[in-house]
């Protein structure tokens, strides 16, 4: 395995953490130690990063015209694109996701950088109709200043792109903390950041765990924080923000997304997409459709076919060594996740009926068989709580109204799928589902040009699309007499 960076990246330099603290990382494929010397940022390190980001904001980056910023972002995108696979491998090493999946993730990051680079010189403000009430009115959209982001571990590059690309396009500077479960991939960006031409301090990468995240959330000079992760941690971030300097917060939290399969759906499509939903990234996707509702008439057929599809995938070698380019699905991210998912599986066996899976896969590494439960009551843990693994439940419904009610019966609201051939049903049901993203006849996959985010306790704020830049801008109203 190629070597990797382990320090912090501040002011365009790799530096030791002043904290003297380190993170330890194990390879979930075989539980071997990757490193126990990954620098973890403490208070002095975060202060240094903030100082660097502030200086860059007040200095060269803040003074740079939008078109020049765009140029640097376009270049950065190309560099990430070129290195996509190498960067992907570092993710696979750290958290076991298949290198094919993570390479796609690096490309998604590059595409987001290209997309937002295009916005940099198009962030228009408004002006009022001239001459009204003796005032000339202008409203400007301005960057906020030093922004920060905390990523989850399941798609480091996508989450980094969603936060950093719009923030920089808008003219902010950034301090990013990757997840402690996946600290290597983003840290490798240092040389690319320099080559793209970012002045020092524009992008800073600080590794660490919850303590480091808390330092960012409560820092008095960080003006904004975007967080992707669990709802529990999201709450703590929001509290810390309120208690410190009321920094702006955006939260991308968990989900327990429903999939509604009507009896007029194309069954093959519904089965394929449902299976893919369970398998992609080993089910470690916030938008995963983990509560499947299928109309009574086709339920048995669907469940049988889904079981076949998942068992077929498992037997075919699609699940295996993430470093192998042909592998589609790797292990879960680490032992802690393994224990967590297996515990949910045990509860599922108690509360419902196991259709397929339900065990560890093999006897080495943190691999789990794709698992489906049926006849799980709506108040069962396995139906209420986010598992974040290759586990889904299947329930049946009679009418459209019932399906919608069951689908919305959750504290979450991140995503949903609807399978039907009828266009007006698709549009009608979509309107009534309480979720920020809905896929019709597909599983939901974000695109650069549309917003991604949740309703209810899945968070607020949107990433991607034109909305995605709003979190990084503030409006200023000017009245000229």
């Amino acid at each position: 395995m190629a070597s990797f960076e382990t320090q912090l990246f501040i002011n365009n330099e790799y530096v030791d953490a002043k904290s003297g603290e380190f993170l330890t990382l194990y390879n979930p494929t075989d539980d071997t130690l990757v490193s126990d010397k990954i620098h973890s940022a403490g208070e002095a390190d975060i202060d240094a990063a903030v100082a660097a980001a502030k200086a860059a904001f007040k200095g060269p980056w803040g003074k740079m015209g939008p078109t020049s910023r765009a140029k640097i972002l376009f270049k950065f995108a190309d560099l990430v694109r070129q290195k996509a696979e190498d960067l992907g491998k570092l993710e696979s090493l750290a958290m076991g996701s298949a290198v094919s999946t993570q390479t796609l993730g690096s490309h998604a990051c590059a595409d987001l950088l290209t997309y937002y680079a295009g916005w940099a010189d198009k962030l228009l403000g408004e002006t009022s109709y001239p001459g009204e009430d003796g005032k000339y009115k202008i409203s400007q959209r301005e960057p906020i200043g030093v922004c920060s982001g905390i990523g989850a571990w399941n798609a480091s590059y996508l989450l980094f792109g969603w936060k950093v690309a719009p923030a920089l396009a808008a003219g902010n500077t950034f301090i990013y903390k990757p997840s402690e479960k996946s600290p290597l991939g983003l840290l490798a960006l240092g040389p690319l950041i320099k080559e793209a031409g970012f002045p020092p301090g524009v992008i800073n990468i600080v590794n660490g765990a919850g303590k480091t995240g808390a330092l960012l959330a409560s820092h008095m000079e960080i003006r904004q924080i975007g967080f992707t992760g669990s709802t529990a941690t999201g709450r703590r971030i929001q509290e810390a923000a309120a208690k410190s300097n009321l920094k702006r917060v955006s939260l991308e939290l968990g989900g327990k997304s429903p999939s509604i399969i009507f009896d007029d759906a194309d069954l093959e499509t519904a089965v394929t997409k449902s299976a893919q939903g369970v398998l992609v990234n080993t089910g470690q996707v916030c938008a995963m459709a983990s509560r499947i509702f299928v109309q009574e008439g086709i339920a048995d057929q669907f469940i049988g076919a889904l079981k076949g599809a998942l068992e077929g995938a498992s037997a075919s070698g699609a699940i295996g060594d993430p470093m192998n380019k042909n592998t589609m699905v790797g292990p879960v991210a680490d032992k802690a996740q393994f224990d967590r998912v297996m515990s949910y599986i045990e509860s599922g066996k108690k509360d419902g009926q196991l259709v397929t899976g339900g065990t560890r896969k093999g006897d080495k590494g943190n691999f789990i068989e794709p698992t489906i439960f049926k006849n799980t009551p709506s108040d069962a843990k396995i139906v209420r709580e986010e598992v974040f693994g290759p586990v889904a439940t299947v329930q049946t419904f009679k009418t459209e109204e019932e399906a919608i009610e069951m689908a919305n019966d959750t504290i979450f609201g991140l995503s949903a799928c609807v399978f039907t051939k009828n266009i007006s049903r698709a549009l009608r049901v979509t309107r009534q589902i309480e979720a920020g993203t809905v896929a019709v006849n597909d599983f939901f996959f974000p695109t650069v040009d549309t917003g991604f985010g949740g309703f209810k306790q899945s968070g607020y704020g949107r990433e991607g699309g034109p909305e995605g830049i709003n979190d990084y801008l503030q409006f200023k109203t000017i009245h000229i007499k």
Partner: protein, 483 residues
Amino acid sequence: MAPESRHWINNEFVESDAKETITLHSPYDESVVGTVPVADEQVVDSAVAAARKAFETGPWPTFTAAQRAQCLLKFADLIQTKADEIAQIEAESIGQPVAFAKMIVGACVATYRYYAGWTDKVAGESYKEEDGTYRIVQYEPFGVCAGIAAWNATALYLGWKMAPALAAGNTFVFKSSEKAPFTPLIVAELYKEAGFPPGVVNFVSGGGSTGQLLSAHMDIDKISFTGSGITGRKVQDAAAKSNLKKVTLELGGKSPAVVFEDANIENAISQNSQMFLMNTSQVCAATSRVFVQKSIADKFIEALKGAFKGAEGAFQNPKEPTTMLGPLADKLQYDRVMSFIQSGKSESGAELLVGGDKIEGQKGFFVQPTIFLNPKEDAKIYREEIFGPVLNIKTFETEEEAIKLANDTAYGLASAVYTASVSRALRVASKIRAGTVGVNAVAFPSAITPFGGYKQSGYGRELGKAGIMAYLQEKTISINMAV
């Protein structure tokens, strides 16, 4: 080596046995620059057919927005590498100083990069269902678009007309001016290298007859023209008589500059001399009518006279990298400008303050920077666009008077207001009937904001978001929810 002269269709240079050709001569030393064939009906039909095929069935309509963006970005990088070659040919063809020509290439590059950023950002709209109907509005390209460039900044028009059209997913047939046909042919292969499929970008050379063929073509969906008002009317007429293709016209101007007594005089002088004389004032947005407040008029006029006189020395060989000003584009333009100057001297009622003749001791079509003071209201030099280094000056007392004078023209392309007062600047800017207003500067168009005229300076806008919306049409889709 003679410059490339063949038309470019379907990603290839095409031989054509043209009955008519155009030979270009340098306005500096009258040497032969090169010869281009005039595109006749067969060539134009062939170009349009290629563009139509590329739009309907080529890979182009299957390109994602991101892929279109990559082509535009790559072309921007590539044309930058040809800046020197383009500058040389423009210096030879129309006497444009190479330094200025390179700046124009830079503006072209910026335009391509700007529109690359728009490809995936023109969102339509969706609405909450009303009366049982789900409504969507989407924006779609027109299809085959055509562009007719003026001669004064060809590379600029490659950007202004084509970049947004291509970003929006259209295909294009571009006709250069017969006075400056070579630049597109220098960069034609770069479009191919950048990844544009065959037929997406086509170049034809020719003059009025070729322009007429394009304007009247039954299979062109939209045409964008930059040039004189007379020709613009012909384009619109032909479009209406043929297939009602959409038309954008960027025509001339007789733009006003208003200098108030609280203006920074030094700045006002340099803007109205150096900036006015840029490209030998062969700029559609040149502020060729200056109105200065009486209280500072004497001082201002004296200083401007001095600046104009001093500028004479800046007219040199356009191929020299240090040359700031070149000759007029050709003999036709020279005769035209001289004729206006003659009219100014003999029938305008104005006082000739400086200039008024050709520049002595210089070969080539050089004319002295010229100022006329107080022409009559109906004087030719005051009403008509000269497109040369000839300025009118009048004085005014009040702001209302200045605005009235500024708006007293059939045109409305550009304008400038010089004042230290923010509220006056905004107030006056809002009252001048022009598509662009510069405050305390001659505003050079930026890719970011729209450019175009009021009144007889044309209609439609290029650049900015408006520039790409001009190459898209709205489609409303209404879905019956009851079925």
